[in-house]
């Protein structure tokens, strides 16, 4: 089967995804008999392109990375994301426009449009899950299409699907973990004596955080992931604003040194508890000691421990393989895995 793909949003993650798909195209062909082409691309600052016969993806990558517009690659004139979706004739859309924690827009409009046109949709956009999960998953179901969002949390470890398949009848009553790789990396590096500013710079240099790291260091990225997990796994709409996160800006080198001397360390801990209909969610820096499963999670490790009403605790943790640095490629992997799982059957 041939898949026409459209990429809505063409930043670090989407470009890493395009490269990953190219790297794996022989495997996709030999193992699943899948071929693909890119028929629509929409960028934030470098224009849009549509070509149902296939856009030259190598040129698109090259142009965007040298800050040129991709419009010359288009077979006709398109002005915005919605037009790209409507004219791309794609069967699958990857939605990776910038995250909007307040409303989830414009990603939700993009996804709704694509699903209504009969496309599968795969996204790393947490805003769309938090603000649109119930509507969009119902729409996808009614159209018989996939709405995949494993890439939104735990950089692509299949947490949502494994939970659903492992605990088919269980009710999630609490979870606890580390969900933001940037702050965990900063805290790990500060423990080794690096300054906060240098640690932030390091995270920017490997593409782990943005030029403006506010979202990460003030806890909003963790909060929106917490909200996504509550929305999906506890089946309860929840916003990052309800989490009221506390970030890591107030953690001083002195505090870290003192904790280290006591055999402890700071972690930006996410914790959620449900009692009855009441859900209490927190994101805040906490001191943890070696008896905590969070203590050993260093650098870009993220993970959660899940507690259900029926069975003992389960944890899933992702961490860097030796010789590997974290970055957009892991999120891209999450999108890629959703793609494979959506199309392999």
């Amino acid at each position: 089967m041939h898949y026409k793909l459209s990429l809505i949003g063409f930043g670090n993650v989407a470009r890493a995804l395009a490269r990953l798909l190219l790297r794996k195209q022989d495997l996709l062909k030999s193992r699943y008999d899948i071929t693909f082409s890119f028929t629509g691309i929409s960028t934030g600052r470098h224009g849009c392109a549509v070509n149902p016969d296939g856009i030259d993806i190598h040129k698109a990558l090259e142009r965007v990375e040298s800050k040129q517009s991709i419009s010359p690659l288009s077979s006709f004139n398109v002005q915005d994301s919605l037009a790209v979706i409507q004219h791309s004739q794609a069967n699958l859309m990857f939605e990776n426009s910038p995250v909007n924690t307040q409303t989830g827009q414009p990603a939700i409009d993009h996804i709704r449009t694509a699903l209504e046109l009969g496309m599968h949709v795969i996204t790393a956009n947490k805003g769309s899950v938090v603000h649109g999960y119930h509507e969009l998953s119902a729409l996808a179901k009614s159209k018989g299409k996939t709405f995949g969002f494993e890439a939104t949390v735990l950089s692509g470890s299949p947490l949502f699907s494994v939970f659903r398949e492992t605990f088919p009848l269980a009710e999630l009553i609490s979870f606890k973990g580390i969900l933001n790789a940037t702050t965990n990396t900063i805290l790990s590096r500060m423990e080794n004596g690096e300054s906060y500013e240098d640690a932030v710079k390091y995270c920017q240099s490997i593409g782990l955080t943005e030029t403006d790291p506010t979202n990460d260091v003030d806890g909003w990225d963790a909060a929106i992931k917490v909200a996504a997990l509550i929305t999906v796994l506890m089946d309860t709409p929840f916003t990052p604003q309800q989490v009221e996160p506390t970030g890591i800006r107030d953690i001083t080198p002195e505090m870290i040194a003192k904790a280290k001397a006591e055999g402890k360390r700071y972690k930006l801990v996410c914790s959620v508890e449900k009692s009855g209909k009441q859900i209490r969610a927190r994101v805040e820096p906490k001191l943890v000691d070696p008896s905590s499963p969070l203590y050993g999670m260093m650098n870009s490790s993220t993970g959660v421990t899940l507690r259900t009403d029926v069975l003992p605790d389960y944890s899933i943790i992702t961490s860097e393989r030796e010789g590997m640095t974290s970055g957009p490629v892991e999120t891209a992997y999450g999108l890629f895995a959703d793609f494979v799982n959506a199309v392999k059957n």
């Binding site: 990953l20 794996k24 950089s155 692509g156 470890s157 299949p158 699907s161 494994v162 398949e165 492992t166 605990f167 088919p168 009848l169 070696p290 008896s291 499963p293 203590y295 050993g296 999670m297 260093m298 993970g303 421990t305 029926v310 069975l311 003992p312 605790d313 389960y314 944890s315 899933i316 943790i317 992702t318 961490s319 860097e320 393989r321 590997m324 974290s326 490629v329 892991e330 992997y333 890629f336 895995a337 793609f339 494979v340 799982n341 392999k344 059957n345």
Partner: protein, 344 residues
Amino acid sequence: MHYNLALIGFGNVGQALAQIFRDKHANLAQQFGADFMIVAVCDLLKGSVCDPNGLDPATLLDTLTATGKLETIVAPHHGWDALRTIADSGADVVVELSYTDLKTGEPALTHLRAALNAGKHVVTTNKGPIALHYAELKKIAETKGVEIGAEGTVMSGTPSLRLGLELLAAAGITRLQGIINGTTNYILTQMEAGMTYADALKEAQAKGYAEADPTGDVEGYDAAGKAVILANLLMGAALTMNDVDRVGITGLTPQDISAAAANGERWKLIGKVEKANGQVAASVRPTRLSITHPLASVGGATNALTFTTDLLGDVTLIGPGAGRLETGYAVLGDLLAIHRRFGK
């Protein structure tokens, strides 16, 4: 979609499954559109009963509690052996839960062969046939267009195989390593707290973690069986039990334990499966890990498995390695996987 199930073996896990159906039948129908009905139960000690119109799970459990047997249940057929049950009960899925034999895989192997050859799906928690004869069973299953579910063979209800297959689909697994035997991990944890090996073993037996004859656990055979299953199901290998480089924990002394502790380390019985130069190698060995290693903090009877992948880095799964309800849920997970694939 409706499924008739025949349960071969009605010990802890079979009863847990009956309990899940008793308590959650309506939820399963409503949430998944799957209607699972037990039509036959065949147990070597408790007897055998079959009713093609369905056996009530509550009646099965109550009768067993009251009489220790299944014989008094009113049903058209009693006393069928396992093979007759598989052949004549009208089951769509055979759930094989008889006792584990890691040397021959029997009698489960014969049961699974018969079920697959008759075109029935099978779900098993039995390591024997899966560790020893997976390739043969898989071939029959493919020919007949049916499924083999084996999630409960490794880490009981912790979804190691399911996660592995999901990761495998796209991430490329290069190494698996972890704590895959709860009994030995419990013993090592207790020894670190100052107990002798003999006392720790006694306690593990009292808690039901270890068998009266603990050889299978403490000499690493159980972990080796699981390593073979992981290698063959997730890495496409064709290993046998003899291919596993296996050392148990009986040689570890209190001095070894305290020497490690003094060095900021901890002994764990680590099962490992690794692909190198196109070959898959498996080992089970007591290993000293730094206490900062993610697997070092896994204490008691808990299990953990780290998947090293090409694209995603390391993914570690931690959860219970045993337990009747946990394993019952593993069987249910496999049944729902069959439903997802064939129930449309």
